[in-house]
């Protein structure tokens, strides 16, 4: 008898040992992040979070290693995993003991019941499978959170670079207007222009100063934004340059295939529907097996006789056949499927919209590069030539230069737009696509607009 009891207990203990908890897979999430971002952050325990940033990859690596948001996302995953483990765990067997003493002659009546929630044991594989699907969803969500941070860093990087260029150009713009006003002052002192004309020049100089202040502040704010995204204590030092545009933008089908295949939010939504489908199947399969406990019952009669035998408790599905739970699971599955569909539609439309915006920015940049900036260069060159021949005055020459610089600022706005939308496309692709850039084309354009003059008119009388 005791052997039987011991065997039952041993069996229950072994079955409990067979139930292994789910692993959060945080390392797997980090690996996926590295792979997706094409970054290697292994062995970076002593990483210097305030080190110089010379390219976008530096910034992303810093964010992944230094921004607590990454660890928060991973900790959230651990918590979720624990919650799932709690949900699927098997309750321990219950041991019931009753000792009754009816009277002195008849002795003591002892009842010992050992009941295990067999239903949990039966359902455990299915529940675990379901929980694994749910956990996979959360792994995707954790990956999405990390990639979202990386993407914000990417967008912030471009914005920071553009802000830096614009601030430098605005400085030049303000200086040009300021020199024009100072020149006007000289003309006024010589008695050659009146106060009205001088005031006009000073007003323009003031406007130039306002723009310089504004764009300088925007650069500072872009730096602070980067500091926040990188999760560092000191403002980062910008040493990189904005890359040139890739030769071509991808077509929608390419990005859409990447998005379908690897966007973590879509993967999470798919994992969700998978989990919900399993949940529904579980509810349906076990609609008549609602609660079931089994064990052994031992009774020692007062006369010393012993009764030993199996004991079960089974809920009879007469009035409740789990229909409500089935309906709920079905509804949840339907909702999950529709959410997946809505998400796909959202991504599809966003990809198309973003590609259109990139194309627009690319076209505008091409027009700037091919028509507007060269035309302004020619205009400035022509104005200088006219100035050389006393056919125009210095105010018009400097104002033409200011106009050229102002146009360059507009060009930079479109440049910033292109990279902003490129970063958005990268986010829509789940980080699987990133515009390949090569440094310095834009700066070439800026410097050539300035230096061409230096080459042509280097001579000094």
């Amino acid at each position: 008898m005791y052997r039987l009891l011991t065997a039952a207990l041993l069996l229950l203990w072994m079955s409990g040992c067979a139930v292994r908890p789910l692993d959060s897979g945080r390392e797997q999430v980090l690996d996926r992040s590295q792979h997706r971002l094409q970054l290697d952050i292994s062995g970076e325990a002593e990483y210097n979070c305030n080190g110089p940033l010379s390219e976008l990859a530096d910034a992303m690596r810093t964010a992944l290693l230094c921004n607590p948001q990454v660890q928060i996302a991973l900790a959230e995953l651990d918590i979720t995993t624990a919650e799932l483990n709690r949900q699927i765990r098997i309750d321990n067997p219950t041991l019931g003991l009753a000792v009754r003493d009816s009277d002195a002659e008849s002795g003591v009546n002892i009842e010992l019941d050992l009941l295990a929630p067999v239903i949990d044991l039966i359902l455990y594989p299915a529940r675990k499978s379901n929980a694994q699907a749910t956990l996979e969803r959360h792994r995707h969500l954790a990956l999405a959170a990390i990639l979202e941070l990386a993407n914000q860093v990417e967008a912030g990087w471009y914005a920071w670079q553009v802000a830096d260029l614009k601030a430098r150009v605005a400085q030049r713009f303000a200086l040009t207007r300021q020199l024009n006003a100072e020149l006007g002052n000289r003309y006024y002192q010589a008695g050659n222009i009146n106060l009205h004309e001088l005031s006009e020049l000073k007003l323009e100089a003031g406007t130039g100063g306002l723009l310089e202040d504004q764009l300088s502040a925007e650069l500072t704010m872009a730096g602070i934004q980067m500091q926040r995204l990188l999760g560092v204590n000191e403002p980062p030092v910008l040493s990189g340059t904005l890359g040139k545009l890739p030769k071509n933008d991808p077509d929608k089908s390419t990005i859409w295939a990447l998005t379908q295949d690897s966007h973590p939010l879509l993967q999470a939504a798919r994992a969700n529907t998978d989990a919900l489908a399993k949940s529904l199947a579980l509810e349906r399969r076990f609609r008549f097996l609602l609660d079931f406990e089994a064990g052994i019952s031992l009774e020692q009669e007062p006369d010393g006789g012993t009764l030993l035998g199996p004991a079960i408790e089974l809920e009879l599905p007469l009035w409740n056949q789990n229909q409500a739970e089935i309906d709920e699971a079905s509804g949840q599955l339907d909702k999950g499927q529709q959410q997946l569909l809505a998400l796909q539609q959202h991504f599809s439309a966003e990809i198309q919209l973003t590609l259109g915006q990139m194309q627009l920015a690319r076209n505008r940049l091409a027009r700037y590069r091919q028509e507007i900036l060269p035309a302004y260069r020619n205009k400035l060159d022509q104005t200088l030539r006219e100035y050389n021949y006393m056919l125009t005055g210095p105010f018009e020459l400097l104002e033409t230069r200011a106009g050229q610089i102002e146009t360059t600022l507009a060009f930079l706005d479109d440049l910033g737009n292109y990279w902003r939308f490129a970063a958005k496309l990268s986010r829509l692709s789940g980080g699987s696509w990133r515009a390949a850039d090569t440094p310095d084309l834009q700066l070439d354009i800026l410097s050539s607009a300035i230096n061409k003059q230096e080459q042509q008119h280097a001579h000094t009388p």
Binding site: R186, P394, N451
Partner: protein, 418 residues
């Protein structure tokens, strides 16, 4: 064979025939070649120009003018798409003698119609060349004939009277000189002639702008600006006549240095001597002709319009006055934003001419644009442009070649005191 189109065209001419309007020239009456052997007995020296050849045909002097687009150089570095006659603007000078029967063929090789008005000529009204008034316009490709007997002498002009604003702005004009049948006295040794004109050749452009009324860029003697205008030459004591016609849109006070000349004639012919008046400057009004005569005095004598801006090359009318503006200390700073910037004009605009003369800024202006001041004399930049040239008079001039700059006699040149 009559066709509907021919019928309509012919029918459209009927009212003109009825009104006595001449029809285009027929095949029997052919114009002389415009580039044949010269039969001209030209006595006029047209500055930067020539006289038109003619052909005698049964006692009639026949000339052939061809209205056509021409590429014209105002001065080295500035060329323009102009219109003119026989390959030039102004067209060649027509010289006839009082009493001549003349026949002038005009072929229109332009893309728009034209006519020819003989400015100042006494002729039958139907030969006056006023499009729409005295004749139909001469359509592209057509050749028309003007024919009359010359009953006057004097300095006349020719120009279109069709889309006149455009065609004259583009350079369609010429001199029409009628010599007197009986030579008058005193006889003239050297007889110069040219037309005054103005051009809206905006800097960097290649075609005159016909819409400009006031602010012209180029001022020309016979469509040339200084320093591309021919010099005038004479021997000391020569009797020189200069015939000046004005087809520009401004009056021009023409001034000759070192001489007191007489105004001796116009399109009304040579005045009776009692009407001659001594001057050093004579205003030649718009549409007027003036002949001046003088006995040449040795030296290099400036000869120019006295409107100061008319003796300049292209210049801006909105240029802020730069005289007296000290900005040298700003130049380096301004070069930071406008490389190539330099300062000029603080002490006057002559600095510009010095830069041009020294070659610093010879080609630093807009394309196809000459500098505002140009010319280099024996003592430095001449600082002129537009309507300016020099009369060179020498005792021993060989009659052909430029004698170079004048060698002043001792005691006859300004000198530096300190």
């Amino acid at each position: 064979m009559p066709t509907r189109r021919n019928f309509i065209r012919d029918a459209s001419m009927l009212p003109l025939l009825a009104a006595g309007i001449p029809m285009p020239v027929n095949a029997q009456l052919a114009p002389p070649a415009s580039n044949g052997k010269s039969t001209s007995d030209a006595r006029i020296i047209t500055l930067n120009g020539r006289s038109l050849d003619y052909r005698m045909n049964a006692g009639v002097k026949e000339f052939h003018l061809i209205a056509e687009p021409v590429e014209h150089e105002f001065a080295p570095g500035t060329v323009a798409k102009c219109w003119g006659y026989n390959g030039s603007t102004p067209g060649p000078t027509i010289e006839v003698t009082e009493g001549d029967r003349i026949r002038i063929f005009l072929t229109n090789n332009l893309k728009e119609h034209t006519t020819m008005h003989w400015h100042g000529a006494l002729l039958p009204c139907g030969m006056d060349g006023i499009g729409g008034v005295t004749q139909p316009h001469i359509q592209p490709g057509e050749t028309w004939v003007y024919e009359w007997t010359v009953r006057q002498h004097g300095t006349l002009m020719y120009h279109p009277h069709a889309d006149e604003m455009t065609q004259m702005a583009f350079g369609m004009m010429g001199l029409f000189i009628v010599h007197p049948k009986q030579p008058s006295t005193p006889a003239v040794d050297r007889d110069y002639a040219f037309l005054l004109h103005n051009w809206a050749m905006h800097p960097g452009t290649y075609r005159p702008d016909p819409s400009v009324m006031v602010d012209f860029d180029l001022w020309t003697f016979n469509s040339k600006t200084f320093p591309a205008i021919d010099y005038l030459y004479a021997r000391s004591g020569d009797r020189v006549r200069i015939r000046v016609g004005n087809l520009s849109m401004w009056n021009h006070p023409i001034h000759l240095h070192g001489h007191q000349f007489y105004v001796t004639g116009s399109d009304g012919g040579r005045y009776p001597e009692g009407l001659w008046r001594p001057e050093v400057t004579e205003i030649v009004g718009v549409g007027q002709m003036r002949d001046i005569e003088f006995d040449a005095v040795p030296g290099d004598w400036a000869f120019h319009c006295h409107m100061a801006h008319h003796t300049m090359g292209p210049m801006s009318h909105e240029l802020p006055n730069m005289i007296g503006v000290q900005q040298r200390d700003l130049v380096e700073q301004i070069r930071q934003v406008v490389p190539g910037y330099w300062t000029h004009g603080e002490f006057g605009m002559a600095e510009h001419a010095q830069h041009i003369a020294s070659g610093h800024h010879r080609n630093s202006g807009p394309a196809n644009t000459m500098p505002m001041m140009d010319g280099l004399g024996p003592y430095g930049p001449i600082e002129m442009g537009g309507m300016f040239t020099v009369l060179k008079v020498r005792d021993d001039w060989d009659g052909k070649n430029d004698p170079g700059w004048y060698n002043h006699l001792p005691g006859e040149q300004a000198y530096k005191l300190g």
